[in-house]
Amino acid sequence: MSASIVHQESQPVAAPPTTGLRERPWLRFSLRRLGGLVLSFVLLVGVTFVIVPLIPGDPAIAAAGQEASGAQIEYIREELGLDQPLYGQFLDYVGGLFTLDLGTSFTSGEDVASVILARLPFTAELAVLAISLVLIISVPVGMLVAYLTHGGRRPWLDHLFNFVTSLVYSVPQYVMATLLVVVFAVGLGLFPAAGAENLSSLVLPTLALMLLPTCVVSRVVRRETAVVLDQDYIRTARGWRIGQVRLFGRYVLPNVITTTLTLSGLILAAQLGGAIVIETVFAWPGLGQGIVDAILSRDYPVIRGTILILGLMATVIIILVDVILAIIDPRTMEAEA
C-alpha cells in the first residue's frame, strides 16, 4: 500500500521539469494535491477501521462456521487478532498497511491484497471502458446540439434532446442492466447474460454502465458549450472570421473540456459505486461483487481493503483530473496560489 502512495507522490512532483520548475505555482499545486491525497487516505484508514467492526454479527463465528464449538471460536478469535484491545488491532492494521499487508480474509483465509488484486482488473476494465465511450460519444453530441440550437434555433432539436436524455437519465443503471439482459440476452440471445468469459460478455455490462453517464455528460457539454458560445472571446474569434471547425476545435472545446473533465472525474468515481450493482446483475467478478459478498459474510479485512482501494481510486481519479485540468488551463492552478 505504502509503495503505491509513494508512487503517486512522485508523479505530480516529477511532472513539472518538462515544463520547467521556474513557475512556482506548480510546486504549490503538487504539494497541495499530495496533501489532499494523504489526508484522504488517512481519513479512509481511520473511518474504515472504526466503521467496519460496527457491522453486526461476530466474525469469529462467521469464520468458524455455525456448528463450531466455543473453544474453536475462541481459537479463531485469537488467530484473527480479535481478542486484542482496539488500539492493538488498529496498530496491527496500520502497521500492516506499510508492508502492503491488508490481512487475511476471515472466510477464505486468503491474503486480502491478492483477493483484491484478482478482482480489481475486472472493475477497472469495465469502468475505464465505460468512461472512455461516454466521453467519445457525449462531447461531440453535446457540442453539436449546442451549436445547432444556439440563439434559439431549431427548438424541436432542443426539446428532443432534452426529452431523450431525461428519459434515459431516469432509468437507473441496474434497471437498464436488467432490461438489457431481458432484451439482448434472454430475448435475442446476442450476448451472454452473465460471467466474464470473453469479449462479448463485456458488451452488456459496459452498455449498462455507460448509458446514464452519457446522458449526463452530453447535457453538461451542451450547456457548457452554450455558455462558452456566449463568451466575449468567442465574439472576438468570430471577429477574426475563422471557420466553424476551427472555432469549435480550438476556441470552444478547450473551455468546454474543463468542466466536462471535472464532472467526468466525479462520474468515474461514482462509476465505482455503480459498478457494484452492475456486477451483481451480470455476475461480474469485480470488486463490487467482492464487497457485497464480504459484507454478507462479515469478512472485515476484505471489506476494509476493498473500501480502502475504492476510496483511494476515487481520490486518485479526482486528483488526476485536477492535474490534467491544470495542464490544459493553468489558471485553475494559479487560482490557488
Binding site: 431525461s166 432509468v171 437507473p172 441496474y174 456566449d230 472576438t236 471577429g239 468515481a269 489558471r331
Partner: protein, 561 residues
C-alpha cells in the same frame, strides 16, 4: 407554445412533472388500500404469463406482479422522501454550520467534505446499511446520510458565494449577527438553487435506495419496494421476463417526475435557458449594386430588432470615407454597439438586422461576404473586461489567427511579424508575451496587442467598440495614442464607439450622437469642444459629463502645497 409565454412557470416540463408526481402520489395513497389482496395473497397460480387477470403475470408465489409494483409505490416514495429530507436538512445544517464557523474550521471541514464527496456514496451507504442491519429504516438513514456531504458542500459553496456579495458585507458592517445574516440574506437567496438540487437528491435517493434493495442490503421481505421487486424478478428472468416490467417502469416514472420538475425549476431560475426560441426569418440581401460614391462604409436606414419584439436600432444612416475616423457616442441602450456590430457583420444570432444599404467597401454585409475578405479588411476591437481573449490559449495563437487563416502565412512568419508589431506598440518582451496566456497580460497590453495585429493585417476598416472603457486613464491614454498612430501611419478608417465625449473629441473626425436607436446629431470635434451643439440630448449629455477644470480661478487662494 405561445400560450405558455406568459407566466413562465407552466412549461411543459413543469406540467408533465407535476402531473406525473400527482399520479404517483395518488397511487401511493390508493394502491396499498385497494390492491393489497392480489399483491400479497399467496395463490396457486405461480409464475403465470401475462393474461387478462394478471396483466404482467404472477410471481413465483402466485402474487400479481402489477399489483405488487403499484403497491410498492407507497413504501418507495416514503423512503425516498425520508432519505431526501435527511440529506437536504442535514446538508443544509452542516453547510450553513461550516459557513458560520471560523475560517480555519471551515477550511478543514470543506477539505473533509471534498474527500467525502469524491467517495462513491453507494459504497458508503452500503456499509452504513450493513452496520444498521438491512431494513427500511436503515436504508433510509444510510442513503440520507450518504447524501449529506454533497448537499452540505453545495450549501457551503453557495453560502460562501452569496456572502461575498456586497449586501452581506454591508449587513455585517451594520452589526447584524451571523445567524441573522444567514436567516435574512443567505438562506432566502439560496432557496431556489437548493430546491432544484433537492429534486436531484430525490432522484438520486430513489435510484440508490432501490439499488440497495436490489443487491439485497435494503428492504427485506415481506416488505417490498421497487428495488426488491426488481431483485426478485431477476431470479426468474429466464422463465418470466415480464415480471421485470412493473418495477422498472415505476422506477423510471418516479425518477422522470423528479427530473422534469428539477429541469423546469432550473430553467425558471436561469434566464439564459428560458430565452425563448424564435424563428428568425432570414432577411434576403438587398440587391443594391455598390454605387459609385467614394464612401468606404455606407449604411442607410439600418434597423435592428428582436424578432417580434422591440426595435433596438431605428433607421440609422451613416457613411465613413476611407481614412476617416467616425465616432458613435451615447449612453447604454442607445444602440451604438448594435450599429457598429451590424456594420462589422457580427450581429447576435437572435437579432434581426435590416437595412436599405449596408455595405463595407463593395461587400454587402446583409448577405454573406467572403469570410477571408472580411477577416482581412475589417478588424474588430472590443472592450477588454479581461474576457476578450480565450483564457485557455496562448496569446501567440490568438494574435496570429488572422495572419494564418486569411493571409496564408506560416506559423513562423506570422509570429515574427506579430512580434515586431508588438514591439511597435511598446509592448516589452514581445516574444515572451506570445507564449503567455491572456490573464498574464494587463488590460492595456491586451488592447495594444489587438491593435498590433492591425499593423500586420492592414485592414481597411477598424470597428472599435468601447476599446478603452475598462482601462485606467493612463492606460487609456497609451491605447488611444496607438489608435492615433495606426490612423496616421496606415490611413485606416475607423468606427469608434464610446460613451466618453472627451475620448471621441480627441480621436475622431466626426461624431455621431445616438439616443434610443437613432442618430440625433452630427458633430465635429471643434463643435464639441466649443459646446456648439443643438440637440437637447447632446446638451444634457455634455452637461452631465464633469470635466477636469484647471483654469486658474481669481478667487482661489494661492496656497502652496
Amino acid at each position: 407554445m405561445n400560450s405558455l409565454k406568459r407566466g413562465g412557470l407552466w412549461t411543459p416540463s413543469m406540467m408533465g412533472g407535476l402531473l406525473l408526481g400527482l399520479c404517483l402520489l395518488i397511487l401511493a395513497v390508493v394502491a396499498p388500500v385497494m390492491l393489497s389482496t392480489p399483491a400479497s395473497e399467496l395463490t396457486g397460480q405461480a409464475g403465470q404469463d401475462p393474461s387478462a387477470d394478471h396483466l404482467l403475470g404472477t410471481d413465483n408465489l402466485g402474487r400479481d406482479n402489477l399489483a405488487r409494483a403499484l403497491v410498492a409505490t407507497r413504501l418507495t416514495l416514503l423512503m425516498t422522501a425520508g432519505a431526501t429530507i435527511l440529506a437536504v436538512v442535514g446538508g443544509m445544517v452542516v453547510g450553513v454550520g461550516i459557513w458560520l464557523s471560523s475560517p480555519r474550521v471551515r477550511k478543514i471541514a470543506l477539505r473533509f467534505l471534498e474527500t467525502a464527496v469524491a467517495y462513491p456514496s453507494l459504497i458508503f451507504a452500503l456499509v452504513i446499511a450493513a452496520i444498521l442491519r438491512p431494513g427500511v429504516v436503515s436504508s433510509v438513514v444510510a442513503i440520507g446520510i450518504a447524501g449529506i456531504p454533497s448537499f452540505a458542500r453545495l450549501t457551503a459553496n453557495l453560502a460562501a458565494k452569496i456572502s461575498t456579495s456586497e449586501y452581506v458585507t454591508t449587513a455585517r458592517l451594520l452589526g447584524v449577527r451571523p445567524s441573522a445574516i444567514a436567516a435574512r440574506h443567505i438562506l432566502p437567496n439560496m432557496a431556489e438553487p437548493l430546491l432544484i438540487l433537492a429534486t436531484t437528491v430525490f432522484a438520486l435517493s430513489l435510484v440508490e435506495l432501490s439499488a440497495l434493495s436490489f443487491i439485497g442490503l435494503g428492504v427485506q421481505s415481506p416488505s417490498y419496494d421497487f428495488g426488491l421487486l426488481l431483485n426478485e424478478s431477476l431470479t426468474q428472468i429466464y422463465t418470466q421476463p415480464t415480471s421485470v416490467v412493473g418495477p422498472s417502469v415505476m422506477i423510471v416514472l418516479t425518477g422522470l417526475a423528479a427530473m422534469l420538475l428539477g429541469d423546469a425549476l432550473a430553467a425558471r431560475a436561469n434566464p439564459r435557458a428560458s430565452r425563448r426560441a424564435v424563428r428568425r426569418p432570414f432577411t434576403p440581401a438587398v440587391a443594391e449594386i455598390p454605387d459609385r460614391d467614394t464612401a468606404l462604409v455606407r449604411v442607410e436606414n439600418l434597423r435592428v430588432s428582436v424578432p417580434g419584439g422591440a426595435d433596438l436600432v431605428r433607421g440609422v444612416s451613416l457613411t465613413i470615407e476611407p481614412g476617416e475616423v467616425v465616432a458613435l457616442v451615447g449612453e447604454s441602450g442607445s444602440g451604438k454597439s448594435l450599429t457598429s456590430m451590424s456594420v462589422a457583420g457580427l450581429q447576435a444570432e437572435e437579432l434581426e438586422v435590416q437595412a436599405d444599404v449596408l455595405r463595407v467597401d463593395d461587400m454587402n454585409m446583409l448577405g454573406q461576404p467572403d469570410r477571408s475578405r472580411l477577416g482581412r479588411e475589417i478588424s474588430v476591437i472590443y472592450q477588454d473586461p479581461g474576457s476578450t481573449f480565450n483564457p485557455s490559449l496562448r496569446m501567440g495563437v490568438q494574435l496570429t489567427e488572422v495572419l494564418r487563416t486569411h493571409l496564408g502565412m506560416g506559423r513562423r512568419r506570422a509570429r515574427k511579424l506579430i512580434t515586431e508589431a508588438l514591439a511597435q506598440v511598446n509592448i516589452s518582451e514581445p516574444a515572451h508575451r506570445l507564449r503567455q496566456h491572456p490573464h498574464k497580460l494587463s488590460g492595456g497590453m491586451r488592447q495594444r496587442g489587438m491593435i498590433a495585429t492591425t499593423l500586420v493585417t492592414t485592414p481597411k476598416l477598424i470597428v472599435a467598440d468601447e476599446p478603452t472603457t475598462a482601462l485606467d486613464v493612463t492606460v487609456q491614454h497609451e491605447v488611444l495614442r496607438q489608435f492615433r498612430r495606426i490612423h496616421r501611419t496606415q490611413g485606416t478608417a475607423m468606427l469608434f464607439v464610446s460613451h466618453d465625449l472627451g475620448v471621441v473629441e480627441a480621436l475622431c473626425d466626426r461624431i455621431l450622437v445616438m439616443k434610443e436607436g437613432e442618430i440625433v446629431e452630427h458633430l465635429t470635434p471643434a463643435q464639441l469642444k466649443s459646446h456648439d451643439v443643438r440637440h437637447p440630448y447632446t446638451k444634457a449629455l455634455m452637461e452631465a459629463v464633469p470635466v477636469v477644470d484647471v483654469s486658474p480661478r481669481v478667487t482661489a487662494p494661492q496656497e502652496s502645497l
